[in-house]
C-alpha cells in the first residue's frame, strides 16, 4: 500500500498577499521547507476559521506557484474560488495573518522521459498547476500547447502567464466571451494533430477531466488528470475522497485521491462510475446487498454545482 510520497510537513504559514484575479483570489504564503519540494500537481491542505473554528475539515488546493528562494525563505501560492464559508474565511485573511497548512501532499504529474509535445488543459482555476508544469516541460524541450477553458471570461485564470509559460495558448469559453466558443475538448483534436501530441495533462472539474481522458484515448495518447474529490483530511486517514481506479493488475479499487492521487492516468479512472462502487470493484458488496445506484453522479457538469463548504476548492 503506498502512503503519501511527498513527505508533507505542517506549518504555521504567514499570509504574504491576497489579490483578486477575475472571480478568483491568488493567495501567497511564506512556506519555508515546503517550496523546494513541490512539483506541479502537489496540493496543500489548509485549516480554516481559526483555532476555535467550528469548521473542522481542511480545505485542499492545487499548488499554483512556488518560489524556494523568495525573500521570505520560500513561498507558496494557491488560487481560491470562494464558494463556501471556509474559502470565504480564507480569502478574507490579510498579510501578516497566520494559517496552518500541510504540504506538499499527493502524487504530482509525471513528466515524459522524452521531450514529446504535450497539451495542458486547465478548467477555471484548475489551471493553477499548469503554468509550472508548462515551464518544466519546456525546460525539457517539450512543445507545450496550453488550453484554458471556463464558462465565461471572468472565470479564465492565468492568460498572461499562460502566454509566457506555454508555446501556444488557446482559450475557450462556453459563452464566447473569450477565445473559442465552446469547451476545451472542442479544440483538442486539432491541437493533437498539429504537433503529434503524446500526452494531455488536465486539471479542472471532473466532467472536463472525463472528456479529456476520452479524447486522449480516442487518439491513442496518454492523459494525466488531477481529480477533484471531496476530502476531509488530505493526508490519507479519513477515506472520504475515494474513486474507482483500475490498477496495473487490472483490478478496480476504491482508492484515495489524496495519497494515490490527485493525479491519475486518465485511462485508469472509471469516470462514468465515479460516485458509485462498481460491482466488479475489489470488495464491492455482493449483489444481494447492493444499494440502489445514485442518480446523476456519473456525468458531472463542466462547472460543478456548489458542493457546500466541504468542496475541495482547488484540488482537482
Amino acid at each position: 500500500m503506498p502512503s503519501a510520497v511527498a513527505d508533507p510537513i505542517r506549518v504555521e504559514a504567514e499570509v504574504l498577499s491576497v489579490r483578486r484575479v477575475g472571480e478568483y483570489f491568488v493567495m501567497a504564503f511564506a512556506a519555508p521547507g515546503i517550496a523546494e519540494r513541490v512539483s506541479p500537481g502537489h496540493f496543500v491542505a489548509i485549516a480554516v476559521g481559526g483555532d476555535r473554528s467550528s469548521m473542522l475539515l481542511r480545505r485542499s488546493f492545487s499548488i499554483y506557484r512556488v518560489d524556494p528562494s523568495g525573500s521570505f525563505g520560500g513561498t507558496l501560492e494557491i488560487v481560491v474560488g470562494p464558494k463556501g464559508a471556509g474559502t470565504q474565511w480564507l480569502v478574507s485573511r490579510r498579510p501578516g495573518d497566520m494559517v496552518n497548512l500541510i504540504a506538499p501532499l499527493g502524487r504530482p504529474f509525471s513528466l515524459p522521459v522524452d521531450p514529446v509535445a504535450c497539451i495542458l488543459v486547465g478548467g477555471g482555476y484548475g489551471a493553477a498547476p499548469m503554468f509550472a508544469l508548462a515551464e518544466q516541460l519546456r525546460e525539457r524541450g517539450s512543445h507545450v500547447d496550453l488550453v484554458l477553458g471556463a464558462a465565461t471570461e471572468s472565470r479564465l485564470f492565468g492568460l498572461v502567464e499562460g502566454r509566457r509559460a506555454a508555446t501556444t495558448l488557446t482559450t475557450t469559453t462556453e459563452d464566447g466571451s473569450d477565445g473559442v466558443q465552446g469547451r476545451v475538448t472542442d479544440v483538442l483534436p486539432d491541437l493533437i494533430k498539429q504537433h503529434d501530441s503524446q500526452v494531455i495533462y488536465g486539471c479542472g472539474p471532473m466532467g472536463m477531466l472525463q472528456a479529456i481522458a476520452g479524447v486522449a484515448s480516442d487518439h491513442g495518447i496518454a492523459s494525466q488528470c488531477a481529480v477533484e474529490e471531496s476530502m476531509a483530511c488530505g493526508v490519507g486517514v479519513c477515506m472520504t475522497c475515494v474513486l474507482p481506479v483500475i490498477g496495473n493488475d487490472g483490478v478496480t479499487r476504491m482508492v484515495r485521491s489524496c495519497t494515490e492521487g490527485p493525479v491519475f492516468f486518465g485511462d485508469q479512472v472509471r469516470w462514468s462510475d465515479v460516485g458509485t462502487v462498481p460491482d466488479d470493484c475489489l470488495g464491492a458488496p455482493t449483489p444481494t446487498v447492493v444499494s440502489a445506484p445514485l442518480q446523476g453522479r456519473g456525468a458531472l457538469p463542466d462547472e460543478p454545482a456548489p458542493r457546500g463548504p466541504v468542496s475541495r476548492g482547488g484540488v482537482r
Binding site: S54, C233, V235, V237, M239, M254, G275, V277, G283, R307
Partner: protein, 317 residues
C-alpha cells in the same frame, strides 16, 4: 510539541492485563493504521494506535459522497472500506510491529461467525496489545441492525471473540450511543467477557444539501462525530462508570485538547481516543496527550489513575 510539563505525572493506565504507558490513542477509523500520521508525529509515543476496523474480506465501502461537514463535526458514511484481514496482517500490522507502536486492533463483522473468524485469525499474531470489537457497525445478518443496539447480540459477539482470543489480550467492546440505556448494553458485554468498554461510536445523522435538495451523503445516513457530540460521549462514559466503576473505559467523542480529554478521565475513562479532530490537524492525538499531562499536573495529580472518575461523588457504602 516539545512542551515539558511543570510536574511529571505518571500517565500509565490499565485495561485488564494491558498496561499502557500513556492514556491517549488514535480513534478507530480516524488514523488508518498509523503510517500516515507517523509523518507528523512519532506514533510510538502515543498510548496506542487503534487501527481502522478490519473485516474478514476486502471491502470497498460506500459510494461517494461519503462525508459532509457539520458545525464542529462531520457526518460520514465510509462503510468500513478496508483490505481484509490477510492484507491487514501482512502490511499494516507488520508495519506497526516493526515501528514499535502499541497496537489495538479493531475488528468488525457482519455476523457473529465473522467476528469469531477474525479473532481466530488474529490469535497467534504478534504485536497485538488488545482487540477493540466494533459492534456498532451495521449487522448484515440482522438486516441492518447494529449489534450494539441489542444486548443479546452484543453479548453474543463479545462471547465469541473472548472465547477465541488469548486470555492475556484484553478485548474492548465499542458501543453506540444510539440506545435507550447504554448501561444495559455495557452489562451485556461485560457479562460476556469484555475487559473494557470503548465508548462512543458515532451517532446517526442526516444532512440535506439545500442546493441539490437531496441527502448530502450517497448513503443518506451517516455517523456524526467531532466536538459537537462531546457531551453525549462524556455522558456515556459517566453512566457506564457510575454503573460499573471497576470496568476500564476507553472514552472518545470530539476530543481535541487536553482539557477535553480530562473531562473524559474525570467522568471515568481510563484512557481516551482522539478521532475526528485528527482530520483538522494530524498532530492532534500527540498534542492532546501532552496537554492532558500538563492539565493533570496543574491540578495537582501525580498519577492519571487518581483522576479517573474523580468527578463522581465519593461512594458511600
Amino acid at each position: 510539541m516539545n512542551t515539558t510539563p511543570v510536574n511529571t505525572v505518571d500517565m500509565s493506565t490499565t485495561f485488564g492485563h494491558l498496561e499502557l504507558a500513556a492514556p491517549v490513542t488514535t480513534a478507530s477509523g480516524c488514523a488508518a493504521a498509523g503510517r500516515e500520521l507517523d509523518q507528523f508525529f512519532d506514533v510510538t509515543q502515543l498510548g496506542a494506535i487503534v487501527t481502522k476496523s478490519i473485516m474478514l474480506n476486502a471491502r470497498s465501502g460506500r459510494p461517494t459522497l461519503r462525508m459532509a461537514e457539520t458545525p464542529s463535526g462531520m457526518l460520514n458514511a465510509i462503510g468500513l472500506q478496508g483490505p481484509g484481514i490477510e492484507s491487514f496482517i501482512e502490511n499494516d500490522l507488520a508495519w506497526l510491529r516493526d515501528r514499535g507502536a502499541t497496537t489495538i486492533v479493531s475488528i468488525a463483522g457482519g455476523s457473529i461467525q465473522e467476528y469469531q473468524e477474525l479473532a481466530k485469525r488474529l490469535r497467534h499474531e504478534e504485536g497485538i496489545a488488545a482487540l477493540e470489537v466494533n459492534i456498532s457497525c451495521p449487522n448484515v445478518a440482522n438486516r441492518g441492525e447494529v449489534f450494539a443496539c441489542n444486548p443479546i447480540e452484543a453479548g453474543g459477539v463479545i462471547h465469541a471473540v473472548r472465547r477465541n482470543t488469548n486470555s492475556r489480550v484484553p478485548i474492548l467492546a465499542k458501543l453506540t450511543p444510539d440506545v435507550t440505556d447504554i448501561t444495559q448494553i455495557a452489562k451485556s458485554v461485560i457479562d460476556a467477557g469484555a475487559d473494557g468498554i470503548s465508548v462512543m461510536n458515532t451517532t446517526l445523522g442526516v444532512v440535506i444539501d439545500t442546493t441539490t435538495m437531496k441527502p448530502a451523503l450517497a448513503n443518506v445516513t451517516g455517523g456524526l462525530s467531532g466536538p459537537a457530540i462531546r457531551p453525549m460521549a462524556v455522558r456515556c462514559v459517566w453512566q457506564i462508570h457510575q454503573a460499573y466503576p471497576d470496568v476500564p473505559i476507553l472514552g472518545m467523542g470530539g476530543i481535541g485538547s487536553g482539557l477535553d480529554a480530562l473531562q473524559f478521565i474525570l467522568a471515568g475513562a481510563s484512557a481516551v481516543s482522539v478521532g475526528t479532530t485528527t482530520f483538522n490537524d494530524p498532530t492532534t492525538p500527540f498534542r492532546v496527550q501532552v496537554e492532558l499531562e500538563e492539565a493533570l499536573a496543574q491540578r495537582g495529580f501525580s498519577s492519571l489513575r487518581d483522576a479517573i472518575g474523580f468527578a463522581h461523588p465519593l461512594e458511600t457504602d
